[in-house]
Every structure is written in structure tokens, then in C-alpha cells.
């Protein structure tokens, strides 16, 4: 159903824009991409009081219409493009009442585009607490637009805002802020003659941004360029003049409408917290403690739900076994699909907990303090304080984190961040690590509070960060800088996390993981089952013949015989042949051909390793004895009768997964972000070499 009105939501970062978006649209939203670029586009439907439906588009947060990063460049192009599927009828600009001055800069720019605007004045309760009194009616009259006080957090004023949206004018009523003509009178006049513009400010913006706007024809863009030369237009000088004029106007408006207490120097709560959290000693100690707590919790809190899921699958396998007639179809469903799925779904609790932590750290404002503390170190190794967020996000998944590097303005810093982010231990490695650690590391405490398994996992995570830093340091000398970088960043005040947003992010990320990884895993599981259940030529028949001879049938009990047959069948299947063919390469790392199969299949996605292990050992094991993957692997024996998964093999595997790229989605996203195959190719090569070397070293040290 087509929406009746399209509303663009714009605002500064940290103003509660996404909270307002969630409050307006509820769960009725979807995430996509803006056409042509890989910036996340969130749209949702809000039901208006008059029965109409409004489509709300959440635009990236920005301080001004002049973009400083790729994300921000979307804002002007969506607002400016006429007649597209996204062209808004109305703009809702969210403004932080505690920080009116800086927030109004973006408002005056947007208003001057002469698209109808409504102001949602957020955080009125915080402003009241800080004794800031705002004459809302006067502010609304001065600006000529509706001003609706809301509290996005407490879901207050949302109905009023919806009412105002439904009453909104088709025509822009806002009062002119500054004399835009005065900035470049002749140029604005000339551009208005060339291109259809709705306001002088629109023409001026075209002069600044025409190179990046896809909706202009090359001829139009060239013409604007020519006009700029003719009038010797200097973009930065014009921006500086405009910004000063706008702040003069804003100071004027605020002088009449807002009373701020003089004694604002009293130390705020936020500052007191900062004294501790960014303290030169405690700051880093607390940061390390937060990370350690996070990873210990991921283990501890997920234990119970994980065992529930595991038991559920064991129960389902048994049920299916009983219901389905025995045969290839039952085997495919149970040993292939269900076994593969269970290996993956079991990690939902861990992923949800990880994302809960990340969203809490971002929501509270702690993440920007980490950026602030780490900038100097990060710069030494060729990164940027802002690289901390993608790197920490990399603990969850490299794909969104690589996309989030778009907030890094500097090209070189951004490239290095992209190159090292996949080294950070992502959630897809978590299943591999937890499985292998549970297999070889005893579950007991040392020094009362440190759990050995938790320590091993923390170690893997710390190693991933250290390796990312070292690689970044090397790349600092390889890459050449294109422009200078800067680090001008808002430190938002500390806030309580919004639990709704936390829950929402847990749900959204887990769902994305299940849907995206699930598809790959089901496909891989089916292919793998086929490959491991059938063999080339008449090898399978020969095995059957061999074991039906009396020297076997008479001497061995039926159960042992079945196990011998199935393991010899696996070895002679297509998968076994494939595994055997790479065995010479992986033998030095301590792996057998079965692990070789898992290495090949998990090339698409690391977590497939677990599903593959489950499938391989299900195919091999006898069907009546259903146990979890972990038990199957623990009882796995080499032909000589020794356990396959020794400490050396398990850690060698963990090292391999720590460094190897093993993720098709990351390769794809790096290509999308860099627009050049050389970047993902270089990344794949260096990571695979590193993985092989580290695994080789580990195996030989622990053997």
C-alpha cells in the first residue's frame, strides 16, 4: 500500500533520532540501502490520527548539510532530489533542547531549502533539569514552523507530533533565516537560470555539492562548475561566511526565546563520571574490565539457553527419526539440515548478549569516551580514534563494522581500518572458539574468579585486537595519505541506555544472523551431506561387498561392523576425496582430512565449521546414538586410536580461524566499500598466509 505522505527524519547525531524513529513507527520498519550507495536506509510506517499513513525515512545523523563523510552525503541528496521514490513531502527535524544552538544550525540550513519542516524538540525534561527555559510558542512564531515538544525516550508527545505531521502544510511556511543571496549573488542567479531550483539556498548547495549529486546530468554539473570558475567561487570561504551568518541569526533568535542559567559552570554529573571513566589509570583498567566482563558474561549467561536449544534439537532429531521412513530423505533432513542448523542456532543467545552489550556501550555514551582515550594510541599505529568503534563492532560482525568505517573522514585511516577489522574476533568465530575451548580447556576456576575457559576466550579476543594493531602499524608505512585527517567529535552526556533499543538491536541482529547465515548453512549442509553420502565410481558398492564377506560378518558384532562401514564410506565419498586431496597442505597444522572438509566448507562463513563437524560426525556415527556435536568430536579417534582433538590441534584450529578470512560476506562488503578488487584480494592473501603461519607455529609448539 502506497503511503499518503513521505516524511524525512533529520537531526544531529546523539539527539535521540533513532529512538524517535522507533517511537513513530514501532516494529513496523525495514532496513535497506539507499539507491546506488551502501548506506543503511531505515524506513517505517507511522499511522496518523486522521487515518492516513506516513512513510518515515530515517536519514543519517549530521551536524550540517555539508557532508564530512559518506554517510552524511546522503542527507542532502535525498532532500534535494526531486520526484524520486524518496523525495520527502515534509521534513521532521529533531532538535536537542539542551543544545539548541548547535542543533539549530542544521535546522536553518534545512529550512532554507524551502521544503515544509516541523521541529520535534526532544529532551525537554533534561533541559528543564538544567534550568533552561524555552518559550516554545515564541520560538515557533519566530521560525514560522510548528515546534512540538517530545520525549522520545519516555514516548511522550509522539501523538502530538503525529497530529502536526497530519496537519502539515504542503507549502513551506518557514521564515527566511539568513540572506543567502549575499553569499554569492551572481553565482546563485546564474545557477537558478540553468537548473530548476526552489530556493536560492538550493542553488548555493548545488554549487558546493554538484560533483556528488547523481540526479544532476553531467552537462548540468559541468555547467555549474563553469559558472563557479566564472564567479571565482571558493567553497570553503563561502561555507565559513554562511556558518557565521547562521550562528548570528541563531543567537538572535535564542536571545529572545531561551533563558540559560548563568551559573552553568557547576560540575555536571557527566563530568564527574568522566573524571573516573577517562582517568589516566582507572580509565584503561575500567575499559579492560568492561571487555572481560562482557566476554565472561557471554559464556556464563548463554549456558542455560544454549543447552535448552541443544536439547531441543536432539529431541527433534529423535522425533524426526521416528516419524520419517528410514531412507536417503530422512538422512538428508536429519543428518544434513537439522544437524547443520542446530550447530548454528545454538549460538543465538551468545550473539544476542554480545549485541546487547555493544548497544548499551553506544547508547550510554561510553563508546565515544573509549574513542577519546584511545585516539593517541590508535594514531600511532596508523588508525584513528574513530577506528575504535568499527574494531569493537568487529567483535560482533565485520560486515556492519566495515560499513561503519564511513564515519572516518580520512581515506588512509579508513582503508587501514577496513583492512584490519576482519582480524577482530567476530561472533562467527565465537561458535568455533567455544566449541574447541569446551573440548580441550577444563571448566574450572583459577584464583577464585577467573574461569579457565573464559580466560582462554578472552585470550583469543585480546590476540585478535593485538594482531589488528600490528597489521595496521605495518600498513601505515605501505599506504600513502591522500589528505589530512582530523578528529573533531562531540562527547555526548552520559545517559541511561534505552532498554527498548537494546532489546530491538538484540532481536534485529539475531534475526539477521539467522536469516543470512542460516541460508548459507542450510545450502552448505545439503551439499555437504550429498558429497559425504555418495562417492565416485563404484567405491561404495565395493565397501559393501568387502564387509559382507564372512571374515567380517562372522568375527565382528553388527554395531562395530556398521561403524567400520560408515567411516570407510565417508573416507571414500566425494567429500572424503576432497578432504584427502588437501591433506598434504594441512597435515603440518595437525589436521586430518575430516577437518580439511570443514576448512573448505567454512570458507563461505566461519560458523559453518560447527555445522560441518556436526554433519560429518552424524553421517559417520550410528543413528540411534544421538549426542551433541561436542560429544561426537570428543569421542572422535584417529586410525591409531588416539583422540583427534588434542590441545595442539584445537588451538592450531583456533589460530587458523583467528587469522583466516573465511567469510564471503566480508570479501563482498570490502569490495563494495572500496570499489576495487585489489583491496579484498590483498586482504584475503595476507590473512590466509598469516593464518597458516600462526596455526603451524601453534601446533608445533603445543604438540
Amino acid at each position: 500500500m502506497k503511503p499518503d505522505i513521505r516524511v524525512a527524519l533529520v537531526g544531529n547525531p546523539n539527539t535521540g533520532k533513532s529512538t524517535l524513529f522507533n517511537a513513530l513507527t514501532g516494529l513496523n520498519q525495514k532496513v535497506g540501502n539507499f539507491p546506488g550507495v551502501t548506506v543503511d536506509k531505515k524506513t517505517g510506517i507511522a499511522q496518523l490520527p486522521d487515518g492516513r499513513r506516513a512513510e518515515i525515512i530515517d536519514l543519517p545523523g549530521t551536524y550540517s548539510l555539508y557532508p564530512k563523510s559518506k554517510d552524511e552525503s546522503i542527507v542532502f541528496s535525498v532532500l534535494a532530489e526531486k520526484g524520486s521514490a524518496l523525495t520527502p513531502d515534509l521534513i521532521v527535524i529533531i532538535i536537542d533542547a539542551t543544545n539548541l544552538k548547535r542543533n539549530l544550525l542544521l535546522y536553518t540550513q534545512v529550512a532554507d531549502l524551502k521544503i515544509p519542516v516541523v521541529i520535534a524538540l526532544n529532551m525537554m525534561d533534561m533541559a528543564a533539569k538544567a534550568n533552561i527555559s524555552i518559550d516554545i510558542d515564541l520560538l515557533s512564531r519566530r521560525l514560522g514552523v510548528p515546534v512540538v515538544p517530545v520525549s522520545a525516550r519516555k514516548v511522550e508527545g509522539i501523538d502530538d507530533l503525529k497530529k502536526v505531521i497530519s496537519f502539515a502544510n504542503k507549502h513551506a511556511m518557514q521564515v527566511d533565516s539568513i540572506d543567502v543571496h549575499a553569499i554569492a549573488p551572481a553565482l546563485i542567479a546564474d545557477i537558478s537560470n540553468e537548473v530548476e531550483v526552489e530556493s536560492p539556498y538550493y542553488a548555493l548547495q548545488l554549487a558546493h555539492q554538484h560533483e556528488y549529486l547523481n540526479f544532476l546530468t553531467p552537462a548540468q554539473s559541468d555547467k555549474i562548475e563553469e559558472l563557479e570558475k566564472k564567479h571565482s567561487f571558493h567553497s570553503q570561504k563561502a561555507q565559513a561566511a554562511e556558518t557565521i551568518a547562521r550562528y548570528n541569526y541563531i543567537n538572535d533568535v535564542l536571545y529572545d526565546t531561551v533563558q540559560t542559567p548563568e551559573t552553568a559552570h557547576e560540575e555536571s554529573v557527566s563530568n564527574k563520571i568522566d573524571h573516573i571513566l577517562t582517568h589516566r589509570v582507572f580509565g584503561f583498567v575500567i575499559f579492560m574490565a568492561v571487555l572481560l566482563f562482557m566476554f565472561q558474561s557471554i559464556f556464563a549467561w548463554s549456558e542455560y539457553p544454549m543447552s535448552l536449544i541443544e536439547d531441543g534439537f536432539v529431541w527433534a532429531e529423535g522425533l524426526l527419526r521416528g516419524v520419517l521412513p528410514a531412507g536417503p530423505l530422512a538422512d538428508l533432513l536429519i543428518d544434513g539440515v537439522v544437524a547443520g542448523l542446530s550447530g548454528v542456532l545454538v549460538f543465538i543467545p551468545q550473539i544476542a548478549i554480545l549485541f546487547a552489550f555493544i548497544s548499551i556501550l553506544e547508547d550510554t555514551g561510553y563508546m565515544s569516551r573509549v574513542t577519546f582515550m584511545m585516539d593517541k594510541i590508535m594514531r600511532k599505529v596508523g588508525l584513528n580514534g574513530k577506528s575504535v568503534v568499527p574494531l569493537i563492532g568487529g567483535f560482533a560482525c565485520a560486515v556492519p563494522s566495515i560499513m561503519s568505517t564511513r564515519t572516518i573522514e580520512n581515506w588512509k585511516d579508513r582503508m587501514i581500518t577496513i583492512m584490519v577489522t576482519p582480524l577482530v574476533a567476530c561472533s562467527a568465530r565465537l561458535p568455533v572458539y567455544t566449541l574447541l575451548i569446551a573440548l580441550v580447556v577444563p571448566n574450572k576456576n583459577v584464583w577464585w574468579i577467573f574461569n579457565l575457559q573464559g580466560l582462554a576466550l578472552t585470550g583469543m579476543y585480546v590476540l585478535s585486537l593485538v594482531s589488528a594493531v600490528i597489521v595496521a602499524f605495518v600498513m601505515k608505512f605501505i599506504l600513502k595519505a591522500r589528505e589530512r585527517g582530523y578528529f573533531i567529535m562531540e562527547l555526548p552526556v552520559y545517559r541511561m541506555p534505552r532498554w527498548n533499543n537494546v532489546l530491538f538491536s538484540m532481536y534485529e541482529r539475531s534475526k539477521a544472523f539467522v536469516v543470512q547465515a542460516g541460508k548459507v548453512i542450510i545450502a552448505v549442509s545439503i551439499i555437504l551431506w550429498v558429497l559425504s553420502s555418495y562417492g565416485p565410481g563404484n567405491r561404495f558398492e565395493n565397501i559393501k561387498k568387502k564387509y559382507s564377506q564372512p571374515q567380517y560378518t562372522q568375527k565382528l558384532p553388527q554395531a562395530d561392523l556398521d561403524r567400520l562401514i560408515s567411516s570407510e564410506k565417508l573416507e571414500n565419498s566425494y567429500a572424503g576425496v576432497l578432504g584427502h586431496s588437501i591433506e598434504p597442505v594441512i597435515k603440518p597444522l595437525g589436521y586430518d582430512w575430516k577437518i580439511g572438509i570443514a576448512l573448505i566448507t567454512s570458507f563461505a562463513a566461519r560458523e559453518v565449521f560447527v555445522g560441518t563437524m556436526a554433519t560429518i560426525y552424524s553421517v559417520e556415527g550410528d543413528a540411534d546414538n544421538i549426542t551433541s556435536v561436542q560429544d561426537k568430536m570428543r569421542s572422535a579417534k584417529t586410525p591409531e586410536g588416539k583422540p583427534v582433538f588434542t590441545l595442539a590441534v584445537a588451538f592450531s584450529l583456533m589460530m587458523f580461524y583467528a587469522f583466516a578470512m573465511q567469510c564471503a560476506s566480508t570479501v563482498a562488503v570490502v569490495y563494495r566499500e572500496t570499489k576495487n578488487w585489489r583491496w579484498p584480494a590483498a586482504q584475503l592473501v595476507y590473512m590466509t598466509l598469516l593464518a597458516y603461519g600462526a596455526a603451524l607455529l601453534t601446533y608445533n609448539l603445543l604438540k
Partner: protein
Amino acid sequence: MTLSQLEVGETGIVKEFTDLEMSVKLMEMGCLPGEQVRVCRIAPLGDPIAIQVSGYQLSLRKFEASTIILQ
């Protein structure tokens, strides 16, 4: 005197900038000529710094602060 020379707790008034490119970004963030700035904190490793300006806290590197000339 530049912003980077202020100690923690000291205030100053912005006079002008030595770097046009940086000044555009700084002014957008509310750091304008005539505006009062106060150094709130210095990061544990000595850089960047956090300043109070236009009613909120902004962090910037020492080098960037050195392009801001105070009255």
C-alpha cells in the same frame, strides 16, 4: 595564544583560525569567533582534549586546538 596552550579548567574566547579547512568544521560544531571555550579534560595519554563550547562537550586533537587563536 592558542587553545592548545590552555590548561585544564582555563577559559578563553575564540578570536580567529589559522586554518580555513579546519575552521569550517570547527565553526559548524559551534566553535565560532566570540564564543567562550573552556578546557574540561585532557585524554589520559595527553591528546586529544575535551572542551566545553556552545553548551556541550567537544573533543579535538591538540594540533587542531592549535589552529584556534584566542583573544
